[in-house]
């Protein structure tokens, strides 16, 4: 699914954020990406959803080397990935419903085909009565749930979620985690960047096994 080989990423002159990263995420896997604040979790997520390119090393996504992918193919590849941003990245000029429907619209699907799915998804994440609101009028937690709904609406093969439960209460966090687990059961590979240990524990309680952890520390990844 995703393979990183000797990946290094640096900014400016000599500032190295990630160093010699090597790991392989298999299809259908579930991983937590952990590490202290500023350890490079978001940067690693950005590398995995093709937002930035490494200074050195090789990244393969869906068996394709990222550096060799052209713009149009890159766009098609991104449609197979769902992304939850830490800062939500909802479009303020679209309603919540339109934001969630965006990946399907971009994919060229007809509204009539996905209308009910989007409404159901919003209801499931508890935004059934807020779907016609614009993001500036949503609370932090509501925005986060809308961002998650947008990331999973097209049932991606890979879900990358950066602190997806940072702005919601524990009850909603567990509900959202159940959504990620359900998606994973249907074959979606999931990577959740978090430092919420309760969430990791809850996964263990729910699935009766531990999810492998990618632990970032001083620019290196250790698989725990």
């Amino acid at each position: 699914m995703i393979r990183l080989e000797n990946v290094t990423l640096g900014y400016g002159e000599g500032t190295v954020i990630l160093q010699d990263i090597n790991f392989h995420l298999r299809p259908g896997s579930f991983h937590f990406l952990t590490g202290p604040s500023g350890s490079g979790k978001t940067t690693l997520m950005r590398l995995m959803f093709l937002s930035i390119e490494p200074t050195d090393g090789k990244i393969k996504i869906f068996d394709r080397e990222v550096k060799r992918i052209r713009a149009t193919a890159r766009a098609r590849l991104r449609r197979r990935i769902g992304i939850v941003f830490q800062d939500f990245r909802l479009l303020d000029h679209l309603t919540t419903w339109q934001n969630v429907a965006l990946p399907l619209r971009v994919n060229g699907e007809k509204v009539s085909r996905y209308k009910a799915d989007v409404t159901d998804m919003l209801t499931w994440v508890g935004l059934g009565n807020r779907m016609h609101q614009y993001p500036p009028f949503l609370s932090g937690g509501e925005k986060q749930r809308a961002a998650i709904a947008r990331a999973v609406i097209h049932q991606p093969e890979l879900l990358l979620a950066d602190e997806p439960t940072g702005s919601v209460d524990p009850k909603m966090a567990h509900r959202l985690l159940r959504l990620f687990v359900e998606l994973n059961r249907f074959g979606t590979s999931v990577v959740i960047a978090t430092h919420d240990h309760q969430l990791i524990q809850h996964y263990q309680d729910m699935c009766e096994h531990k999810a492998p952890r990618l632990e970032l520390h001083e620019g290196h990844v250790h698989i725990v």
Binding site: A71, T72, A75, L77, H93
Partner: protein
């Protein structure tokens, strides 16, 4: 970029002005061309026989009558008519004023000859034969006039095309600048679209829709303003206190100043071209920016 924002309104206004100038230019060239074509059509089937005045006016009159009868017998001649002194003087009136009647007696007598539109006589041969039969007779087939009219018309058409090109170039430059500015101010939106898998084509299409609306709106406003100018042109010239000569010259130049249905089609074409220019320029602009961002 929102159409109702200050920047959006300013851009719409600038494109409207561009469209207005383009419509005004195209409409004027069309009117001149139409007027010149009508004029050329008229004078192509008309020649003037000129008779130099004799010492006595009676001699000139009888000579004119004889020439007219001779010409009328020729094949390909529909009619011939000797212009009276007052008619000749009225032709000079716009240039020489009302005193031209006195001068007209000193000028050649004119016979207006209407030619058959399809069976035209050999005018050089006719002139030679007239010269052999009558003294002081010459034929003016207006060829020099026709050449001059064509030259003037072509010059105006070329000038008009040059202005249209300049307006087109300015519009393109404005749209390129607006596209860059729109892309910069909507950077976050473009980024999110990229992340959810939008292709460059999809993003360019979103911008195209915006610029299509802008182009149509600005085009219609510009064309409607130009139409209004063409409608009030005769009144405007009169209101500004033009003399008889100016009016006569203006009418000769652009007819009554009103556009016919073909003229409106020309303006519609300008609106379509301006809109297409907006859409295509923004499309290629977005592609270029996205390509450079990689």
């Amino acid at each position: 970029m929102q159409a109702d924002s200050v920047a959006g309104k300013s851009l719409t206004l600038v494109i409207s002005i561009m469209c207005f100038l383009a419509c005004l230019t195209a409409g004027t060239v069309y009117l001149i061309n139409k007027s010149a074509s009508a004029w050329l059509r008229n004078i192509a089937t008309e020649v003037t026989v000129q008779i130099e005045p004799a010492e006595r006016m009676e001699d000139t009159d009888s000579l004119a009558k004889a020439v007219k009868e001779y010409v009328e017998r020729e094949s390909g001649i529909v009619s011939a008519r000797v212009l009276s002194i007052s008619e000749s003087s009225s032709l000079l009136e716009p240039w020489l004023g009302v005193n031209s009647k006195l001068l007209a007696t000193q000028l050649p007598r004119l016979i207006a000859v209407q030619l058959h539109p399809r069976i035209s006589p050999d005018l050089r041969d006719l002139e030679a034969r007239l010269g052999a039969h009558f003294p002081r007779v010459a034929i003016d087939d207006h060829r020099q006039w026709q050449d001059q009219i064509r030259t003037v018309t072509h010059s105006f058409a070329l000038g008009g095309i040059a202005i249209l090109f300049l307006v087109g170039a300015a519009t393109t430059a404005i749209i390129i600048s607006a596209t860059y500015s729109a892309m910069a101010s909507n950077h976050e939106i473009v980024e999110v679209l990229n992340f959810v898998g939008a292709t460059d084509r999809f993003i360019a299409h979103e911008f195209e829709k915006h610029f299509l609306r802008l182009g149509v709106r600005a085009g219609v406003v510009g064309a409607a303003s130009a139409m209004a100018v063409f409608s009030v042109m005769p009144l405007l010239v009169e209101f500004l206190g033009s003399g008889t000569l100016t009016n006569a010259e203006l009418k000769r130049f652009i007819g009554n100043g009103m556009l016919d249905s073909y003229g409106y089609i020309v303006l519609l074409m300008i609106v379509i071209i301006i809109t297409l220019l907006c859409v295509l320029t923004s499309r290629f602009g977005v592609f270029r920016i996205l390509h450079n961002q990689l």
